[in-house]
Symmetry: C2
Subunit: 334 residues, 2 copies
DNA sequence: TTGAAAGCGCTAACAA
DNA sequence: TTGTTAGCGCTTTCAA
């Protein structure tokens, strides 16, 4: 399994090994003849350049660290896929790490990636506190946050206009005739969620509606938590005609709870989500939702990061993308 | 952003840099005093070891290549998650690559990973032909295939007993009283699918049933293809009481087609899947299915690979895991 | 117990 | 146009 090196090729071709290097790198300081001959030999010997050695001298691994709460989450896996595609298109590979939503894991992995000499890091924070934990490391490697809105944080991030998204949602429901819209799953400790709630309130003000919240007391959003919350909610009297769920996973939990008690969605209750994760488009689910443009999020994150890396840019970029409404069939006119 | 090296630490601590190396590696050939002092200095200077340099001399990157059709597929993302967890637990990181189901991409990525000097590769083939394409490269780096059953192929792989799984499924349906069971989505060009079909036939023989197939003429299984197939199928008369779908994605497509024409599942037709992807457990979907133990698949794949890597094992391992039946609510007694 | 030095495979500056 | 050489940051003999 011993790999053939540039020296082996040099010997076989009867040239010095720097000449081989030149042939390989497409340097102009070499005659076409020798280059072709060397390339020929390379092919014959099945030579593959050692990227690690190259990285050492070039001081660039062409490797990007991707740290996210968990690829098994549909939102994250979508992100990871597009990040890989975009990164590869630009000549980079991805080291994937799951933080399992633990801030100390995030910091540990960050450190690990620095040791691995990645050229940059894309981090999908599991909580806004992530930034605080990571702060001391941030000056050591170009980093861009993705997904979470870090507000005024002096660090690059790419996210979606959550306030606008929530506004869009209410506007849609209002247009359908709904006047009693419950916002479900408001959660502390996340800017994303704070902004969504604010957008909802803003829209309520605009349309003359009374904001009503069902709070998520858990530390994150998931189908399970949404289900538990919805169970409690449905135990009480229903004096709203639509629910605007703060995330699609929450909406899925609501769907499950509704199914159990025989509450018909959308006939008896309209349901609107936020994110447009893969699950939402599945048959039988057909969740109408506010979409985060995930592919865009991913490729912009890579672009912002590589801009920083390749141009050794100082300063930071906040890139906020626009959400859109995806109409399926979980909402009915009132 | 310039990183501090072992030499900087050495200078600061007033020792030679080999001494620093010893302190860092926990070598016994060093006094406790100097080690502690050096470690102290490292911490002060915020030193992080350069893994790339280490990899060069150690001839081991502690990096594993993970090549799969696409992490955005729920089955794959589950796999990727657990592979990362298990690999990290054993001191390795993952380079993630999506082949987008293209055999030539797989080979290209394989080559790329070799250049990156990964210690091993886990490859989730997009087709059984993958093996043929990859064959010439396989002797260059320890590799394990995961997910697809490669039958007698003299190369390590971890997969599930698909024949047994299919048998399990028929057995379950039979137990529910079904006697007319249609196998949906049989597909050429995949051992996995061949084995599932065989298991189905075997069970039919055992239980005195007549095997009946609905063929998948597409090159892969997906919700979309399942949907299209099901549309055609439902245009004809229905003379079966249960469908055994070759994959959960196919089953999801069936669900969608059924929904459109108002065919009630499970009341009018029982539906059984295979894989137990994340989607299948979602509310409203609740697909009863044969489960591939994905977490197990992932961690066994890592273990088999690292065994090979760390013990420089010759030969190969075929590890076949047992599927189980996950009962939800898409099947009703007849 | 510590230091000096070689070398991993490569790029690039300098010489020829 | 080609070859020689230094050096990237580290581990590991071999000497001291």
């Amino acid at each position: 399994m011993k790999n053939v090196t540039i020296k082996d090729v040099a010997k076989a071709a009867g040239v010095s090994y720097s000449t081989v290097s030149r042939a390989l790198s497409g340097s102009p300081e070499i005659s076409a003849d020798t280059r072709d001959r060397i390339l020929q030999v390379c092919k014959q010997m099945n030579y593959t350049a050692n990227t690690v050695a190259r990285a050492m001298v070039m001081k660039s691994t062409k490797l990007l660290g991707l740290i996210l709460p968990g690829v098994n989450n549909p939102f994250m896996s979508e992100l990871a896929y597009h990040i890989d595609r975009q990164a590869r298109a630009r000549g980079y590979n991805i080291i994937l790490c799951n933080s399992s939503r633990k801030a100390e894991q995030e910091a540990e992995l960050f450190e690990l990636m620095i040791g691995r000499q990645v050229d940059g890091i894309i981090l999908c924070p599991s909580a806004p506190e992530s930034y605080e934990t990571l702060k001391p490391h941030l000056n050591r490697v170009p980093t861009v946050f993705v997904g979470e809105n870090l507000r005024e944080t002096p660090e690059s991030y790419v996210s979606v206009d959550n306030r606008k998204g929530a506004f869009l949602g209410v506007e849609y429901l209002y247009g359908l005739g709904h006047r009693e819209i419950l916002y479900f799953g408001r959660r502390r400790g996340s800017n994303t969620h704070q902004l969504r709630a604010e957008g909802y309130e803003e829209a309520c003000r605009e349309f003359g509606l009374t904001p009503r919240f069902c709070y998520n007391t858990f530390s994150s959003s998931s189908i399970k938590y949404g289900y538990q919350l919805a169970k409690q909610l449905f135990a009480q009297e229903r004096d709203y005609t639509a629910i605007f769920a703060s995330t699609d996973t929450n909406a899925l939990g609501i769907l499950q709870a509704a199914e159990e008690i025989g509450l018909k969605i959308p006939e008896e209750l309209s349901l609107l989500g936020f994110d447009n994760i893969h699950d939402s488009g599945l048959p039988r689910i057909n969740l109408t939702t506010v979409e985060q443009p995930m592919k865009m999020l991913a490729s912009v994150a890579v672009d912002v990061l590589l801009d920083k890396v390749q141009n050794e840019l100082e300063g930071y970029t906040h890139r906020i993308l626009m959400p859109t409404l995806v109409e399926r069939s979980s909402c009915l006119p009132r």
